[in-house]
């Protein structure tokens, strides 16, 4: 009797029977998910809905914005720029203003998105000093579209200067912003796709895993499992596998939708994009485990993962609001959010088409975070069992 006991102690690797049990546990987790068809449908359709929602309805593209122009110079340069503005789809010039006093009045009256104000002697200044001024006056009550309109206009002005530069060797003074370089048509989906990827994976992995573990605690089945000889580690592992599979399905759905519906192609390596995403899935799963080791009910798990994990991803990861525009504290804070690094990495591979070496910093940070999180959640899980 004693010798067999010792054997069991010195062989921590699972036996055949334990693998079978583990298998039936994974199967049980799949049953939990597939027999709750409302939730399953939600899990599979949610990414599609979000892609459509962000891709089409919440569109940052601004077309045919009504603008006015005040041009006291009326020279070759200003006329050239105005021509370019008129030619673009983005702007409709509804009024040419004659004096500065009109600007504010018309702004309110015509519901203008922007007024373009040239300085006096525009061309002359440009020739002599290399500096000429254009003021872009926008409606700050709608900062998002104001920003977009400004970036369109800057882009147009920049293009004009580039044209001029080719002929006349005039040094240019406005550089188009980095975003424009990789998203020349300023398509909204380019911004949103990486963000939605990050958000969905976070929801599926962290939220659903933590809820499903909390459910076992709530229903008392966890207690029975803990009294059994089945190792807690296998219980937890069996929970993560179905959500890992669902995440992969979601990832595939979202990438397909992105490429074929939103016309955002995968510029870089698909292999690295998927590998990088799987790393993020592991990280999200370990976050879910951490939440579940703290939360004792499904409601707690839901609130905790919703408030602490998902909302910061939406607000602070650069998914919707550019990190560069945040106050310093939040910029610093956003660095602590795993999704920030994931979204940056996805932008690099998917949108900019950069290679594997370019995401090394993101890869490094995410790997360290994953190891740290698994360590912490394992410790807290053990602690809470006692």
């Amino acid at each position: 009797m004693n010798s067999t006991n010792k054997n069991e102690h010195t062989h921590p690797t699972p036996t055949n029977g334990q693998w079978k049990t583990f298998g039936s546990f994974v199967q049980k987790e799949f049953y939990h998910i597939t027999r709750d068809q409302t939730t399953l449908a939600l899990l599979l359709i949610l990414p599609v809905l979000l892609m459509i929602l962000f891709g089409f309805s919440i569109n940052t593209e601004v077309k045919n914005s009504q603008i006015a122009i005040y041009d006291p110079s009326n020279d070759v340069a200003t006329r050239g720029i105005i021509e370019k503005i008129k030619a673009s789809d983005y702007f409709t010039v509804v009024r040419m203003l004659n004096n500065p006093a009109e600007i504010e009045k018309q702004f309110l009256k015509d519901d203008l998105k922007m007024v373009v104000i040239f300085s006096d002697h525009f061309y002359e200044n440009m020739q002599r000093t290399g500096k000429a001024q254009i003021e872009l006056l926008t409606d700050g009550t709608d900062p998002n579209s104001a920003m977009t309109v400004v970036s369109y206009a800057s882009n147009i002005i920049g293009l004009y200067q580039q044209d001029l530069f080719k002929i006349q060797q005039i040094p240019f003074e406005i550089t188009p912003s980095v975003k424009l370089m990789y998203n020349p048509e300023l398509k909204g989906p380019y911004f949103f796709v990486p963000g939605i990827l990050g958000m969905i994976l976070m929801i599926i992995c962290s939220m659903m895993t933590s809820i499903s573990i909390a459910r076992e605690k709530e229903f008392g089945t966890m207690e029975v499992l803990l009294v059994s000889p089945f190792k807690p580690m296998y219980i937890i592992l069996s929970k993560t596998i179905p959500y890992f599979v669902i995440s992969l399905v979601n990832l595939a759905t979202m990438l397909l939708l992105s490429v074929f519906m939103l016309k955002v192609p995968i510029a870089g390596s698909l292999f690295w994009l998927v590998t990088f995403s799987i790393l993020f899935i592991f990280l999200s799963l370990s976050l879910g485990l951490l939440v579940s080791s703290i939360a004792n009910s499904q409601l707690q798990a839901l609130l905790f993962s919703g408030m602490v994990l998902v909302i910061p991803v939406v607000m602070l990861s650069g998914m919707i609001f550019p990190i560069e525009n945040m106050p310093a504290f939040f910029q610093w804070f956003s660095k602590l959010i795993p999704a920030t690094w994931y979204i940056t990495g996805v932008k690099k591979i998917m949108i900019k088409g950069l290679g594997f070496t370019s995401i090394l910093p993101e890869l490094g940070v995410l790997i360290s975070m994953t190891i740290l999180l698994i360590g912490i959640s394992w410790k807290t899980f053990k602690y809470h069992l006692e």
Binding site: N5, E8, H9, G17, Q18, K20, T21, S24, F25, K28, Y31, H32, R35, D36, F219, G220, T221, E223, V224, L225, L226, V227, S228, P229, F230, L385, E386
Partner: protein
């Protein structure tokens, strides 16, 4: 009869708080051992130590012949456990629940199949094999949960307030199942709030403030405390308690 549980000066401290204070007792094979006490008396902590869930601070405990501190794996293999919550998976079918729990305790697959058939026949559940547990009536769930807890033929089954929130008739029926199990040689270690159930036990221990204040057959306890019912015995003992949950 051999002892299947032997506890000697078992103690559990949480910081400066002594939840279980030097308790000692034995439980014989095939016995129904009632483990009673008010809320906060230390019942749950003691039971968790016996199940190998919680390491003790000091003292010794043998369950099914294994040391609870050093051989918790073997202890877990040889006991069954059922709580008030029944702990069946509501969205799994009856047979899926049985197979899952059988698998956890390492019952070989062919044996699970034949034992499942026997079990369903004995309980009269043959038509419910493929029914989801959430559509079973409460009493049936309770029967099933108990049968699942002893499916792997443990030496001892721990029942943590198994009849909480159940009507008296269903409770009575549940005790018939417990008697059946003891007939098969399984020892039953049961905690309960219901003093009428204490009367059904072979021996009863009364825990107050981490100590075992009394341990004997219901008949002897009633004599000792000059009481007509176990409820009176309990009231007399619980009055001494210094601490409680509420």
């Amino acid at each position: 009869m051999e002892n299947v549980i032997e506890v000697n000066n078992l103690t559990k401290k949480f910081g400066s708080f002594t939840a279980v204070d030097h308790i000692s007792f034995e439980v014989k094979q095939g016995e129904i051992f009632g483990f009673l006490g008010a809320n906060g008396a230390g019942k749950t902590t003691a039971m968790r130590m016996l199940c190998g869930l919680l390491p003790s601070t000091s003292g010794k405990g043998l369950v099914a012949g294994y040391d609870i501190n050093t051989q918790s794996e073997q202890v877990k293999r040889n006991i069954g456990y059922m709580s008030q919550k029944f702990a069946l998976y509501e969205d799994l079918k009856v047979w899926e629940n049985i197979r899952l729990y059988g698998g956890i305790y390492g019952v070989p697959e062919p044996q699970i199949v034949s034992k499942t058939n026997d079990l369903l026949k004995r309980l009269g559940f043959e038509n419910e094999r493929n029914t989801l547990v959430n559509s079973l009536p409460l009493g049936w769930k309770q029967k099933l949960a108990f049968s699942v807890a002893i499916f792997h033929e443990p030496k001892i089954v721990f029942l943590d307030e198994p009849t909480g929130g159940v009507d008296p008739i269903t409770r009575r029926k549940f005790w018939e199942l417990i008697y059946e199990a003891t007939d098969r040689g399984i020892t039953v270690f049961v905690t309960t709030h219901y003093m009428d159930e204490a009367e059904y036990c072979d021996r009863v221990s009364m825990m107050v403030d981490g100590h075992i204040e009394a341990l004997d057959t219901p008949k002897n306890l009633k004599q000792m405390f000059h009481a007509d019912t176990m409820n009176e015995v309990f009231q007399k003992l619980a009055r001494k308690a210094q601490r409680s949950d509420s």
